[in-house]
Point group: C2
Chain length 300, copies 2
């Protein structure tokens, strides 16, 4: 297996708030890594090339013949160059064919990955960056869950990303925990037993708008400890996401969850509560694997 | 009908953020009115009597023999004097019997209304101030909806407030419209056609966490105008409240809605969409009517 440790790709995850670059071997090992806060929101128009050079100049110099592929908001309308959305169902080939050429330094061409767009009953949903992790999860047919601020549930079928939907679970959590009247009741360190209570509440009558208020009334009535409020909200919201998403995606049995740390633990516990088994995958590894699969031939 | 124009009650609605006082005739006419921003949150402990005197001193002087009854957060633990919650089911008599005596000025006794507490499957919910409007709606048996930051759905049965539940509809709206990623997409002046779209979206698959995201993706995909975003969120949230609440309260046919202005219009339209007829009642009149009914004999 000689040569497997040789760099074969510079893979860049360039999102709204962060820049992350990986020097990757042919079998998906991350040989080196760079990261900064230079997300798309913090880079002036026309300055993307400078940021790339500042972070990865050494690699670009040392490895002149390996492909440079970028994914995420760098390909949005306000990014370096727009890489238009590919419509679902989208195969690996469809996505590869839509990678945009970009001159990253004089005489050197890199690629920018497209996002995906899916229409469900006339309503559009879009992703940009997650398409790479979905392909990198290498799931065959099945459901892939990508937790986060705007969690994605994607369905792979017959080699195509056939559909996906976004859930504002992480953002709702932040709003309720830090901006709502409930923030006044929540205390740390957190008591994780609140999480299971949130899962159970989501299955009662009344809906989310009522159940979230339980964090207020139960604390005032000494039925819930202030330290349980944060985990309660987390459990309640993740449960509502699962209830809404599982029915729609015909999810059954085993799901892939691309997450780490507490977030992975939360989704594993919540999915188990609803009768699913979760295979937890590393977001970084899924990204790197996906990028390796999606390098177009002209970039090799 | 001589004497009906005579003042027979000083009724005070003393909430968290506002102080409102009404000089009321025996048939519920508001003869005079005072209001200020001196809600409970802005009044120092021990200073409630001074505020009352400053706002209503003239009335107290002129009408020495009419009752003074106060409702709202003034009766909470951090208010003037705690008036403990009465448990549901609660009759008019139960509430009257729990009115707390308070010396409002040397030698003069006033009353502070209690709030209500309801337990549903072990989960408590509380109201303070709304009990007065519920009784004042004089609905006989039926469902009373009190829209607001934390909307209440109360059920009257056999002369009792038999149950109620809170929905954080107004607060969720404020968070999503002003604090979430969706705030960047919303524009004014509002286009009210977004409201009906929100109602329709709530009935599709996916749940609130997904449907709220439609405001983002549909605007980016030119399917929704930025001016529709606010009304869309309003329709979506009110619809989720109705779906959650109507099932639970066995609401059928006609409901009473205690609201005015755009809020009343929104609830009327949304309830109609779900097959209900709404009788819209004035919050001020319900409050005054309720206060007149709930004056205990010892205060007369």
């Amino acid at each position: 297996m000689k040569g497997e440790k040789n760099p074969s790709l510079i893979a860049i995850d360039w999102g709204t708030s962060r820049f992350r670059a990986y020097l990757v071997s042919g079998n998906g090992e991350v040989l080196s890594e760079k990261a900064s806060e230079e997300g798309m929101a913090h880079v002036q128009r026309g300055k993307f090339g400078q940021v790339l050079l500042a972070r990865c100049g050494e690699w670009l110099e040392q490895y002149r013949n390996i492909p440079v592929l970028m994914a995420g908001m760098v390909g949005s309308r306000n990014g370096w160059k727009e890489a238009p959305y590919v419509r679902c169902p989208a195969s690996e080939g469809d996505i590869k064919a839509a990678v945009q050429r970009i001159e990253i330094s004089p005489g050197r061409t890199g690629g920018i990955m497209p996002g995906l767009i899916h229409h469900d009953a006339g309503v559009a949903d879009v992703i940009r960056g997650e398409e790479t992790k979905i392909l990198g999860a290498e799931t065959g047919d099945g459901v892939i869950v990508l937790p986060g601020t705007h969690c994605k549930w994607a369905v792979m079928a017959g080699g195509y990303v056939s559909s996906f939907h976004s859930y504002m679970t992480g953002e709702f959590y932040g709003l309720l925990r830090s901006q709502s009247v409930l923030r006044l009741l929540a205390q740390e360190p957190e008591d994780r037993t609140g999480f299971a209570r949130g899962l159970a509440s989501a299955q009662r009558e009344g809906g989310l708008l009522n159940q979230a208020f339980e964090a207020r009334t139960a604390v005032l009535d000494n039925q819930m400890r202030a330290e349980q409020v944060g985990p309660f909200l987390s459990g309640l919201l993740i449960a509502h996401e699962i209830i809404g998403a599982a029915r729609r995606s015909d999810a059954q049995g085993r799901l892939k969850v691309v997450a780490q740390g507490v977030l992975a633990q939360n989704y594993e516990e919540a999915l188990k509560h609803f009768g699913f088994d979760a295979d937890v995958l590393s977001p970084r590894q899924c990204f790197v694997n996906g990028m390796l699969r999606l390098v177009p031939d002209w970039l090799k």
